[in-house]
């Protein structure tokens, strides 16, 4: 653990190996590691210091986090605009540096809301499905729950994720700041295809307008590709419970692999048509401004991405053993490989992936490393099962310019100085 330095700097490698041979074999066997590195015992203490056992709290209807665990998202009003009045916040970033595994706790799933998070009464909420259909229908959430359902673990990522580093790198940013607009949950709902068949979509309709019941009425035109028709679903469940209001209660669209803003929350209307509507969100907002002053529309898929979460920005490490870990994801499919460089992108080693690596879901990666105490830079790059490789920043900027604002998926570099301080840098 980077913060606490579980590897005392005065203990050399050979001493550590002698200290705990059985533990060494255990780690080597269970984790499939090379066996040359082990977890060293924590600093000397005594079991006499551990408080005696005592009666616990009464059992309750709802379990809270430990008083010793502090986890929170960070609301922001835009790139670098933090500590703002809550009414000015437009998103809230997940604490990637403090989470384990691949699933984001429901209350910490990142949030992007365009005009606050309404708490809609499910008894009064309705979904209208109409347009180029044979039979326009109105559904309530109980109708949806009665239909055949799917459950799927997928990441949702705000298309603005990474937007802190387009032009410069603030060295005091954490990974929560740089990459906290992505999360992975298990979502449950009704396949879009089932609803399409119920209303009898006309064959000439290849676009669907999805509209939210928030004050802004966020609406996006969605192309009805085979992939989207077979994978999209209208969700009412999130990690086993009804959606949280911040995430679209009582129903939202889930679009595996595509821009977060397409996963319309508080879904109240699906309209089928034969051309896109060119809403504000697909013209003025979620378009990529290129270096030549032209903009790209409908760049809907979230690309191959990864980031090292430990060690990461503002952490301090000590020389010796480090267990590098992080998260990788791709809107194209499954993560096939993550490589890590600990010498500024000169040499690369393959990291372990925590299985199962699910398609269009975040996967945890990890790798053992011994930091010699010299300044260096660490960086990860992911490759998905379609062969897409996360670009280095120079190539990425050469192709995209620095004004695009959205779809930043360049490799993230953390620098480490001689004191062990970890900083956000461009490359």
């Amino acid at each position: 653990m980077a913060d606490h330095g579980n590897s005392p700097p005065d203990l050399v490698e050979s001493d550590r190996l002698r200290a705990s041979p059985s533990r060494r074999s255990f780690f080597a066997a269970s984790a499939g590691l090379a066996g040359s590195l082990i977890a060293a015992p924590v600093a000397a203490d005594s079991l006499a210091d551990v408080p005696p056992r005592e009666d616990g709290a009464n059992l309750s209807g709802h379990s809270e986090r430990s008083q010793y665990v502090k986890l929170a998202r960070i609301p922001e009003a835009g790139p670098g605009k933090r500590n703002v009045d809550p009414s000015d916040a437009i998103n809230s970033k997940a604490p990637l540096d403090k989470l384990f595994g691949g699933i984001t706790p429901t209350d910490l799933h990142y949030e992007r809301s365009h005009s606050g998070a309404p708490d809609l009464d499910p008894a009064k909420h309705r979904l209208l499905v109409h347009g180029m259909v044979g039979k326009p229908l109105v559904f309530n959430v109980e109708d949806l729950k009665a239909m055949p359902s799917v459950s799927r673990v997928v990441f949702i990522e705000c298309t603005g994720n990474g937007w802190e580093n387009w032009k410069k790198a603030d060295e005091n940013l954490t990974v929560q700041h740089t990459h906290g607009l992505v999360s992975t949950n298990e979502w449950t709902g009704v396949p879009l295809k089932f609803i399409v068949d119920l209303v009898g979509k006309e064959p000439d309709s290849h676009w669907m307008l999805a509209e939210g019941g928030d004050a802004a009425g966020v609406a996006r035109s969605i192309p009805l590709t085979d992939e989207i028709l077979s994978e999209a679903f209208v969700a009412y469940g999130q990690n086993g419970e009804p959606l949280r209001p911040a995430h679209g209660f009582p129903m939202r669209l889930v679009m595996p692999g595509f821009e977060g803003n397409l996963n319309i929350k508080w879904l109240r209307r699906l309209k089928f048509g034969d051309q896109p509507w060119m809403t504000s969100w697909e013209t003025a907002r979620y378009t990529q401004l290129q270096a030549n002053g032209k903009a790209t529309q409908f760049q809907l898929r979230m690309d191959t991405n990864s980031v090292i979460t430990t060690p990461s920005g503002t952490m301090v490490i000590k020389p010796g053993y480090q267990r590098i870990n992080g998260l990788a994801w791709s809107g194209h499919g499954r993560i096939a490989k993550v490589e890590i460089s600990t010498d500024g992108a000169k040499n690369w080693r393959q990291a372990q992936l925590t299985q199962p690596a699910l398609p269009k879901a975040q996967v945890r990666f990890q790798m053992d490393w011994t930091w010699e105490g010299k300044p260096t830079r660490i960086v990860s790059r992911s490759t998905d099962d379609r062969g897409n490789v996360q670009p280095d920043r120079k190539s990425f900027i050469a192709a995209m310019g620095t004004n695009a604002l959205f779809h930043y998926n360049a490799q993230q570099t953390w620098s480490i100085d001689e004191t062990g301080r970890v900083r956000n840098v461009l490359d």
């Binding site: 005009s115 004050a215 009425g217 060119m278 504000s280 004004n403």
Partner: protein, 123 residues
């Protein structure tokens, strides 16, 4: 029965047999009147625009009454998004994206204002 009408009947029977006749029924049919209440989207070809007309002078008054508090008296200098200016800046290091410099369709502006503005009382 003529050959033609027998064929038509046969086709109708065949269609009835292969149609997805569901043993269940979800939701309820939407009525045209209630669809009209929610059918607010406007496309670039003008489909969806309500009947109506106005003048620039009338628009200036509507803006002063409903928009200027956040967007500034002339669409600049308010606490929220700047709306005018910015042409020629989009390829620079500091692009100014406004309705004037960046929004490609007039219908988008109508649709957005109609559905989402003013911020505290949209629609």
């Amino acid at each position: 029965m003529s050959l033609t009408s027998r064929s038509v009947l046969a086709v109708a029977v065949a269609l009835a047999l292969v149609s997805p006749v569901l043993a269940y029924d979800f939701g309820r049919q939407a009525t045209p009147d209630e669809i009209a209440l929610w059918d607010i989207d406007v496309r670039p070809d003008g489909k969806g625009l309500p009947p109506g007309s106005g003048t620039v002078a009338e628009g200036k008054q509507v803006f002063a009454d409903n928009c200027a508090a956040c967007h500034g008296d002339n669409g600049v200098g308010g606490i929220k998004d700047r709306l005018v200016g910015g042409p020629g800046t989009l390829a620079s290091a500091n692009p100014v994206k406004t309705v004037g410099s960046y929004w490609p369709y007039a219908t988008t502006l109508f649709d957005y204002i109609h559905r989402a503005m003013p911020y505290q009382a949209p629609g």
